[in-house]
Each structure stands twice: as structure tokens, then as C-alpha cells.
């Protein structure tokens, strides 16, 4: 695994940890979708099968979370935002 993959997986795992913690505290259906999406992206990264972003496309994580999360300062939104930014910059 190269440095780029390792850093990307670190960011995904960070978001997964926050999402799973939130799920333990409150049952929000969207958290299940988010966790599934993060796990699917992680598997694609490990397999080297993630489509490139061309510096434009997103993974839909920020869109998915910003739509419903209570606070726009939420650590979960920051965490998925960091994934999106890394994806656009390093998988271009």
C-alpha cells in the first residue's frame, strides 16, 4: 500500500469511527448509508479500483451528510469533507 492509499484510508477510518460513535448514540438511518458508503469506498481504495476524480467529481459523502446533519460544524461533516478534498487533490 502506498502513502497516498494509506493516508486516504486513515481519513476514511476516522470518518467511520465518528459515524459509528454517532450511531451508538442515536439511530439515524442516514448513518447506515454513510457507513456502507465509506466501507465501499475503502474497499475500492484497497483494491485500487477507485475511479479518478479528474479534480472535479466527488464521492457524494459531503453531499450525503450536509443534507441532514444537525450542525454544519459537525466533526462528521468535517471528516467526510477531508475525504472529499483528498480525493479531488490526490485521485485526480
Amino acid at each position: 500500500m502506498d502513502t497516498r492509499q494509506a493516508e486516504f484510508i486513515r481519513l476514511i477510518d476516522h470518518a467511520l469511527a465518528i459515524a459509528e460513535q454517532m450511531k451508538r448514540e442515536s439511530q439515524v438511518e442516514q448513518l447506515d448509508h454513510l457507513i456502507s458508503a465509506l466501507q465501499a469506498i475503502k474497499a475500492q481504495v484497497i483494491a485500487g479500483q477507485l475511479e479518478t476524480s479528474q479534480g472535479i467529481s466527488t464521492l457524494g459523502l459531503a453531499r450525503g451528510v450536509a443534507d441532514w446533519v444537525n450542525s454544519l460544524d459537525s466533526p462528521l461533516l468535517k471528516a467526510v469533507g477531508a475525504i472529499e478534498q483528498y480525493y479531488q487533490r490526490h485521485y485526480a
Partner: protein
Amino acid sequence: MGNKSVSTSLGLVAVGSLLALTLSLLPETSRQRVLAQNLNPACPLPEEIAVTFLNSQCKKVTLLMPQTFFRYYSNETNKKGRYLTTDQYQTNVQVITNLALNQAWGNKAEKMLSITLPAGTTVYQGVVAPQNPTSCYPGGGQQTFIENSKDPYLFWTEGPTLTLEPFSCP
């Protein structure tokens, strides 16, 4: 080694001074443009939200009069939220592709809501960014983001059911 380090530092100071001088000589608008690029204010929203707009570009608008927007949904979970649009679509597939509604999130876009925002509401408008896989979710539709979808002064009205067509994404 020491001399190299001193000359490198002097060089950096000189470059910095030259840059500052160049900026001060630029007309006000050009100077703002240069600084704006550094701060990436193409969309005055946090980066994690701006990224959902094409090229992270959006425009902040304060509504001068009440305005009606649309939202597409399929169940109570995705009925209300911060993402709206000015675009009216006829079919679920148009919505899913143009608004890049990744089906993994469960919104099948089967129904439409009209949302009237009161005058004075701040909205952020731009174009939907494509989502991975882009062959399924190219985006390109109009996107409006509101900070508070739970504002009691928003008026949500049920709209028509959309024409449903099969959608598949490899």
C-alpha cells in the same frame, strides 16, 4: 553550506518583498482577485460544503422576496434537507442523474416537494458537482443550499409524483 543557507534566505526575502510590491502596485480589483484565489472564496461556504458544487463554485444570494424551490424525495428520511433546486423534472431518472442522487443513500426521487423560502433567507446557488461513478451521476443541475432546513418559516408543499423509469448503475 552556511553561505548557501544565508543566500537562500536572502533570496526568499527578496521574492517576498517583490511579491508584496507587485501586489501593492496592482489595481484594487486585481489585488482582491489574487488574494481571493489564495483563500478560495469561490463559494462562501466551508470547503466541505462548497465541494458539493461544481468546481466548488457557488454564489451567496439573499432573497429579496419569497421564492419557491423544489426538492425530490422518496421517503420520510430524505423528505426534508438542505439541498434544493430551481429545476423542475418530470422523471426520477432526470433527477437522479442531474442532481447526482447516489442511490446508495436511498433517495429514489419519486416525489416532489415545493419549498417557499421567505424574503431575507440566504441561499447558496450553483451547479451540482458530478459524483463517482460519473457515468451514473454526472450532475449539472441547479443546486441551492440552505443552512437551516428546519426553519419554521419555510413552507413545504407536496408536489406531483414523478414519472418513474428504471434506473441502474453498473
